[in-house]
């Protein structure tokens, strides 16, 4: 085990996988000499050279598409989007091309490609640089959707992503890069997709969350514990594929569920999980599944407003109590 930041964990896995497999390469804006504006590719240029560590022009559709083509032809590109908000500029290449090619081509091509980058609030970057866009990619078939919430998950899930033979959307969170945590030194350490992480066991209500909300939920769990409320916290880790089993099992135990995400509430992934829980565990539910998500509002620049848009830590306890009909 080593203590690493989330960004170090990411960089180390990229480097290890590039050492092991010549087919892996990385491209994106400012990732070479500068090492990425969030330092996730620092030092890679020096070790692997400019063929495999490429600065791109500011041409998101162009270089994501080049990743799709390179993947079709046997390479395993990692494409960094500086902000996941910029995925919109490459949306056709992601959702009409990368996601659909294998299927439309009858299985004759595979697209082993990771599109990774950070998203979310926390740096006052305003509306076009603070979104959480993972839900969009959950809806359209053909891409896997990954949400690491800690350094060890960043490492374990990224390794799986790089080795996956399919397009993977890998959503980092800007406010997690500096988080430190233990990461296994095993250069084969990986976390399978589709296995949720039970962060904390509990019996009174299930809180499903990821990214920043894992820590926030843990903080609230302690407070709730003092009031004899014992919550279970589950981080799905991947949205596609999704670990229904673990979540349904938990809800059957607790009878109550709350989903918390930074993405907008309306038509966000919380809706999918809530609807699924209802479909699969209706008779076990003692209260409606609740969802906490960002208001239906562009992320504002001002800090106070920003906080008014996304769920706050205390909202988790409030929601838990609501499902327990405690006022």
């Amino acid at each position: 085990m080593s203590i690493k930041t989330y960004s170090q964990a990411i960089k180390d896995v990229i480097a290890e996988e590039m050492r092991k497999d010549d087919a892996v390469f990385i491209m994106g804006e400012d990732i070479a000499e500068a090492g990425g504006i969030f330092t996730c590719t620092k030092g890679l240029l020096k070790e692997f050279g400019s063929e495999r560590v490429r600065n791109t022009p500011i041409s998101e559709a162009g270089f994501v598409g080049a990743g799709v083509g390179a993947a079709s032809c046997g390479l395993r590109p990692i494409v960094e989007l500086m902000y996941m908000d910029f995925a919109y500029l490459a949306m056709d290449q992601i959702l009409n091309q990368a996601a659909k090619i294998r299927y439309m081509f009858g299985g004759n091509v595979k697209i082993p490609m990771v599109i990774r980058g950070q998203q979310g609030i926390g740096r006052g970057n305003a509306g076009q640089h603070s979104q959480s866009v993972e839900s969009l990619f959950m809806h359209i078939p053909g891409v896997k959707v990954v949400m690491p919430s800690s350094p060890s998950e960043a490492a374990g899930l990224l390794r799986t992503a790089i080795r996956d033979d399919n397009p993977v959307m890998f959503f980092e969170h800007k406010a997690l890069y500096a988080t430190k945590g233990e990461v296994p030194d095993d250069p084969e350490y990986s976390i399978p997709f589709g296995k949720a992480n039970i962060i904390r066991e509990g019996k009174d209500a299930t809180v499903i969350c990821s990214h920043l909300y894992v820590q926030k939920a843990l903080n609230e769990a302690e407070k709730l514990a003092k009031k004899n409320i014992d919550i279970e916290i589950i981080d799905p880790r991947t949205l596609i594929p999704f670990d229904k089993t673990t979540i349904i099992k938990s809800v059957k135990k607790t009878g109550r569920a709350i989903i918390v995400h930074e993405a907008h509430k309306i038509a966000g992934w919380g809706a999918e999980i809530a609807a699924t829980i209802m479909e699969e565990a209706f008779e076990y539910l003692d209260a409606p599944v609740l969802r906490l998500g960002a208001k239906h509002c562009t992320l504002p620049f001002n800090l106070g407003l920003e906080n008014a848009v996304v769920p706050q830590q205390e909202d988790i306890s409030k929601a838990v109590k609501k499902t327990l009909y405690i006022s």
Binding site: F63, G69, A71, S72, G74, L75, Y103, N108, D165
Partner: protein, 323 residues
């Protein structure tokens, strides 16, 4: 320079495309085939000549008007026709149809129903060759309309700065559906746009195999020497409507007829006869063989099974099948 053998190959290839599409058209008209079918008839010289210079290991990306590219790159007529009919034996097991034919065994990275969508993908193919240090070249086919997509600009710029072994072949058939080039495109010759990337650009008669061949040979040599991409514009014309049933109010019958006079197949046939490279008998024999090939493709396609609906979830991913 085109040697006799290659010239005959080009001729046969053009004829193969023509005969294939004539049958596709009649199948469509008799409701045996559905979906979007865009005919390449009239433009065969481009795909045939370009691909006569490529090996199976070289890559192409194709368009919504992709039958010609597929066939010229060595694609099997049977699998192509089966795909048009949505059959399990088609190139894509009936999942893709006319606009999504792929043939990796011949280096065809696939057709694309998004105008301009294939350009960055081709750049990626060339990037793969460059990273792997092979001598493969990539050709990206696209239309005049596609040259106004952002991907055209982003893709060529990428290829130019990375000096990738790729040739951008713009098939300028004067229209994007109903819109004439001059209404949509700010330059007369699209090859002028090469200047934006500091790469060579050529405009040639897209119905003339010799002209196309000359610039392609240069472009391939350049690509293989690591000097980067070339943009080639081939001026041509599609004989049929954009889709079957297109009222074609945007052009006159006379204009179409005048272009039919410039038929690349007829021209090359005449060349063979004039130069006494091939006799009338030999040419008839070629035609007979290809007619048969095309008929066989139709028969194969018609007799092929439909895909089994229970397999519909296969190949969304390489692994997960159930959700």
């Amino acid at each position: 320079m085109i040697d006799k053998e290659r010239l005959i190959w080009i001729y046969k290839t053009m004829l193969r495309i023509r005969k294939f599409e004539e049958r596709a058209l009649s199948l469509f008209e008799s409701d045996k085939l559905r979906g979007s079918v865009h005919l390449y008839i009239g433009e065969e010289a481009i795909a045939a000549t370009v691909c006569s210079l490529l090996r199976d290991t070289d890559y192409i990306t194709s368009t919504h008007r992709g039958h010609g590219h597929c066939i010229a790159k060595g694609g099997d007529l049977k699998k192509a026709m089966a795909e048009l009919m949505g059959k399990e034996t088609g190139f894509c097991k009936g999942r893709g149809g006319s606009m999504h034919i792929v043939d990796m065994s011949k280096g065809n990275l696939g057709a694309n129903a998004i105008v301009g969508g294939g350009i960055p993908i081709a750049v990626g193919g060339a990037l793969a060759a460059s990273i792997k240090k092979t001598d493969q070249v990539t050709v990206s086919f696209f239309g005049d309309g596609a040259s106004n997509q952002g991907t055209f600009h982003e893709g060529i710029n990428l290829a130019a700065i990375w000096k990738l072994p790729i040739i951008f072949v713009c098939e300028n058939n004067e229209f994007g559906i109903s819109v004439p080039v001059k209404q949509s495109t700010s330059v007369k010759d699209i090859s002028v746009r090469s200047k934006s990337y500091d790469i060579p650009g050529h405009t040639v008669n897209g119905n003339d195999v010799f002209e196309i061949n000359k610039v392609m040979e240069e472009a391939i040599a350049r690509a293989k020497k690591g000097e980067g991409p070339t943009l080639i514009e081939c001026k041509t014309y599609r004989w049929f409507g954009h889709w079957i049933g297109d009222p074609q109010l945007y052009r006159t019958k006379d204009e179409v007829e005048a272009w039919k006079e410039k038929c690349p197949i007829k021209t090359l046939k005449k060349y063979f006869l004039d130069e006494k490279e091939l006799s009338k008998n030999e040419l008839d024999e070629i035609e007979k063989v290809i007619d048969k090939e095309a008929d066989d493709a139709v028969e194969f396609a018609i007799n092929s099974p439909e895909p089994d609906p229970s397999t519909v979830m296969e190949n969304v991913f390489t692994d997960i099948v159930n959700f």
